[in-house]
Amino acid sequence: MNIHQILAGFADGDAISHEAMQLRDIIRSWGYESDIFVDPARVSPSLYQQCKPLDLYSATSEDICLHHYGINSPSTDLFLASPAKKVIIYHNITPDEYFYGFDDNLAAELRAGRSRLRDICRIADAVWTVSHFNASELKELGVEKVEVFPLLFSSWNLDLTPEPMILQKFTRNLKNILFVGRIAPNKRIEDLIQAFAWYNKTINQYSRLIIVGSNRSSPRYYAMLRMLAADLDLPNVCFEGFAAPAGLAAYYRVADAYVCPSIHEGYCLPLIEAMYCNVPVITRDAGGMPEALDGAGVSYSGLDEVELAELINRVISDKRLHARIIASQQERMARLHARQPELELKTLLGAWLK
């Protein structure tokens, strides 16, 4: 019996790709054959060795196939046609409405992805999601039996020696506010830039905003953010682009606060990464983020940009508050470390395993 996985894309720094690799390693440790199949056109060159081309996938009815679903792609059709027992892992699909004007093609793909969601879930033998938030979306669509298997976290990249060039660049006597994530319209990075403008110009001029993440998914949104930073006359907004693993460790090392103003997230792994690195986390109370925080850090809603600037200031400068936040985050990380993903996975796959 084989337990393979099918993905729409496979990229370094992508939460779904890293989860797939962790799942593969767990399954292989049980003695099963397990590989990751992806369309070669959608694989980062650094990960070529970690996966196989989609057209090499084959299965029998004895096998199990896990499909990570986050966007409509040809890989989904292959999954649906597979004779194996089908497990869909729903990672959430960002609503298309955020992308019109910024990328109409991507918006159409997202729309198609959502429109197929219910049918795909009905064809699958089991439906898993990475958060209760995602599960509630599926239940609204009428999918009845949904299991939650929270997104796996691995700290291997954050335990690397931080990139010295980045440390040198950012460890001057300035307060560093950090955002990590894809540069996409649902992240509402413009809210953070506007809040930072107030923070930088009226509260602490010795500060900078570091924005780390790939800008390839929505270059037009990225152009708007750069224009906004220029409009606000903010030379201290640093668009750093995609970060290599050691680079990411360095950004978290120099950060005084991590802020995520996103309005739609299935889970948001960077929150966990920031908590692991003992950076106080401030997030909007939206999507799956409260679940990722699990009672730690700071979550907010209904704040305008000036109030958000004040909140950031308070978290950075109030030592007692800062210590309380960090303590809550360490407790959260302890709970996360106590998790036994192998056991969870075994329970979920249950009777199918021989």
Partner: protein, 154 residues
């Protein structure tokens, strides 16, 4: 307003304090809203675009307003204390001395930026004309094909 710190609802205490401080900040008219650009031509106007084509139109319009960088004075950051005052004073004098050269360079740079913006606009106009022409020709060919196939059906 909702503020949860380590799972505890802090809106009544911390939230109220933040709101009060934010109000004070807003009232400081000398350093009020950080943006000097009106919302109609601000970067966030791009949010209004509902398609790629609309975005491009908005973007070009906004670019027009931004192809020249201004030569206004800017705020020179100042640290507290005597040394901070000396350093800030020194920077201000340096800026006054360098400003003449800066404005000359800015003038040249702005000239080039303007030429680039024009080039993009010309290019877009040319493309629009080509698209129109191709669409017209396609329409004519389709009409012709319809006319040819109509008698055959009869």
């Amino acid at each position: 307003m909702k503020i949860l710190i380590a799972g505890e609802d802090m809106a009544p205490s911390l939230g109220a304090e933040i709101k009060r401080k934010a109000d004070v900040l807003r009232k400081r008219t000398d350093r009020a809203a950080p943006s000097k650009i009106s919302p109609e031509i601000g970067a966030l106007a791009l949010h209004k675009a509902r398609s790629d084509a609309e975005y491009l139109g908005h973007y070009m319009r906004l670019l027009r307003y931004r192809d020249a960088y201004d030569t206004y004075d800017f705020n020179i950051p100042r640290r507290s204390g005597f040394l901070g005052a000396i350093m800030a004073g020194f920077k201000k004098i340096m800026w006054k001395l360098l400003r003449y050269q800066h404005d000359r360079i800015a003038f040249r740079q702005n000239l080039i930026n303007g030429l680039f913006t024009n080039a993009i606009e010309f290019e877009m106009e040319e493309r629009r004309r080509n698209d129109q022409e191709i669409n017209l020709r396609l329409e004519r060919i389709e009409n012709l094909l319809r006319e040819i196939s109509a008698p055959e059906k009869k």
